[in-house]
Symmetry: C2
Subunit: 132 residues, 2 copies
């Protein structure tokens, strides 16, 4: 990774978010992950149990859901509450920080969802142009 010696000419916009060793990227791996984002949006609405999340999020495996939740918990976005009832019951909810985060994620996902058909049309056009 050759990086120029003259620090003068180097301009890194928006802080150092784009530099390879910026720790923010490690967090983005959790937040922007396929399942992480969906979990955050769901929990924004209300708290859910493990099996509820597994049901609501189509296509997720227990392994990935578990992993996703644990990472979000470690980051401090998600709170995990165990109720020692019978059968056991575990509730997941957002911390205040996770709630703030979730709002940003939701606005992004909503936008994409709203414009999905247009984007799909763009994809079709591109494929057509390539073929024709």
């Amino acid at each position: 990774m050759p990086w120029p010696k003259s620090t003068k000419a180097v301009r890194v916009p928006k802080a150092n978010l784009h530099s390879a060793n910026c720790p923010t990227r490690l967090i983005l791996d959790d937040v922007m992950s396929r399942w992480g984002s969906l979990v955050l949006v769901l929990l924004l609405e209300r708290s859910y149990r493990f099996s509820e999340l597994a049901y609501l999020i189509g296509g997720v495996s227990e392994k990935m859901l578990s992993q996703t939740l644990r990472r979000l918990e470690v980051d401090g976005f998600v709170r995990r509450e165990v109720h020692a009832t019978k059968p056991p019951k575990v509730e997941y909810s957002l911390t205040p920080l996770g709630c703030e985060l979730g709002k940003h994620v939701q606005s992004l996902l909503s936008f994409v969802h709203k414009n999905a058909s247009r984007v799909l049309k763009n994809r079709d056009n591109a494929k057509e142009r390539e073929a024709g």
Copy 2:
């Protein structure tokens, strides 16, 4: 993927964003990708050439950058302009749709970046608790 037959009791929040076959997810693969999000934020500022992006985004390989840009272009978020100068020059910029998208992505990334230190601290605490 067994889905209950009674559509009555099923409540899928926020449209069907969480269902496995929702096309929105395909788009999210591009938008929420490690490099895609960084590209979008950079291009929000101004247009860039390929090599500039490759330089600014630390750690990205030419292959991944190329792939990322092509996907965002196909989706209609990024515009690619070739200037047949010598040496050749290719400029990447955002379409209006991409610009809207970029704003959402930026607000998310900014938030994460702003709270990065707190999250890292949370991680350390979690690791400590696990060890202790």
